[in-house]
Amino acid sequence: MSLSDLFTEIIIDHYQHPHNHGLIPSPTHSSRGYNESCGDDIQVSLIVEDNVVKDAKFSGAGCSISQASASIMTDLVKGKSLDEIKELSQKFYEMVKGENGEPGEEMGDAVVLQGVAKFPVRVKCATLAWHTLEEAIKK
């Protein structure tokens, strides 16, 4: 396991300059996710219209992996349908656990989180934003 697989330029960049950071004032969906073991705390808020995510933002604090993952995720899901997102999140979980070979195109920037698979203790960090998103759209 090499650190450079985990702390890539892109991840550190997302961590230091997160995209879509903040709260949507009147979201159609939102949820809070909490990772008790390291204290990471994330709030995801969405505007969903006709089953399509029009806007997505996150706030909260946490480690580089959880923050970068949230930043990339909020970029990725905008414009996607809820069904597409459900599929995407499953593929994301598989990727960060190192299951099912190479990730496909649809992962977009999220492929930079592939390296997490080599750091089992960090999988929870990478998945927190996605689990929170899933919770939000379930409501």
Partner: protein, 413 residues
Amino acid sequence: MIRNNIKSDFPIFSYWESRGKPLIYLDSAATTQKPLRVISTLEEYYSQFNANVHRGTYELSQIATDIYEEARSKAAHFINAPQPESIIFTRNATESLNLIAYAWGLNSLKEGDEVILSEMEHHSNLVPWHIIARHTGAVLKFIRMNGDYLLDLESLKKNLTRKTKAVSVVHVSNVLGTINPVKEITALAHEAGAISIVDGAQSAPHIPVDVQDIGCDFYAFSGHKMCGPTGIGALYGRYDILEKMEPFLGGGEMINEVFPTTSNYAKPPYTFAAGTPNISGAIGLKAAIDYLEEIGLKDIEEYEMSLGDYAAHRLAEVEGIHIFRPHTTGTGVISFTIDNVHPHDISTILDSEGIAIRAGHHCAQPLMRKLQVQSTARASFYLYNDKSDVEALASALEKSVSIFSPRRINVVK
């Protein structure tokens, strides 16, 4: 003095060394490594003397009972308890504290009664009281912590009233390393007519403890944090209080007579010993105490303090570091944060260098809020650590800073 070659007493270090991944273990506040002597004691027990205790009517069981009871005497002697019968074996400090909360608290506390804790408690000395407060209507109050991470005894004095029934305080903080003045706190509690409870999870392993000198009524500790096996802890209780207490868990061993719908109970400590105990755990704890006593708790304390001071000074050189440690009375626990590097990331970077530290809230969420952090990184030293571990830690922290430096010049190799 601590022997130079002390690491060689602990097989785990040579195991990882031989695999080319030397282990720099700086998480002893979570659990400590075990010397060969403790490991061999478990093996010997199961290969030679294993039998159930107390009820046996044959020699093997008598041998097992004798060594189990020797472990109790040893634990009593270790903290200078007045008699072996004042030591109750539990799973860990957490169960010891719950035992007090349930067996004493559930039966003694009434609506409006007050229990005083502190702002630097571990969850194990908070959550049991939340549960008992919910059942009884008792109220919890808190001794404040000052800016140098010390408890403010004035705030204790202000909180003490005739309604105060117990003061329960951590002896050594697992986050700050602060050594609290439990003797003074006990005296104040007693003056107000309250009992005094001390969470000794982080003191028993690291500093000499004398419960009679402290004067406390209860003292809780864990074996696994002091070179002993997991699954064994102890609770010291003042014998006359134990005698008046209702039992906690019910079952074999703790009874005198059992009828279908009622029972009466054995004398302490057996009142509080339901079911087959962790026999090998107790015997392993005895081996651990033997080991620590041979080295000497006074020497361990001095060694750790000076290593802790050294580490605090060395780490202070790391760019952007904030160390949460009192200027006085610090032990071998160093909690810190580094600007722009999350504790969890620090821990991963250190791990890749074979350095094990902890990142998180350390089971002290209210204290984290008070410190206005979400989590900290924590290095905790024990007798098998030395200055070379501090150096390794410091340079790995410097590496962390450089990986996360806002304007990175080097690409991570």
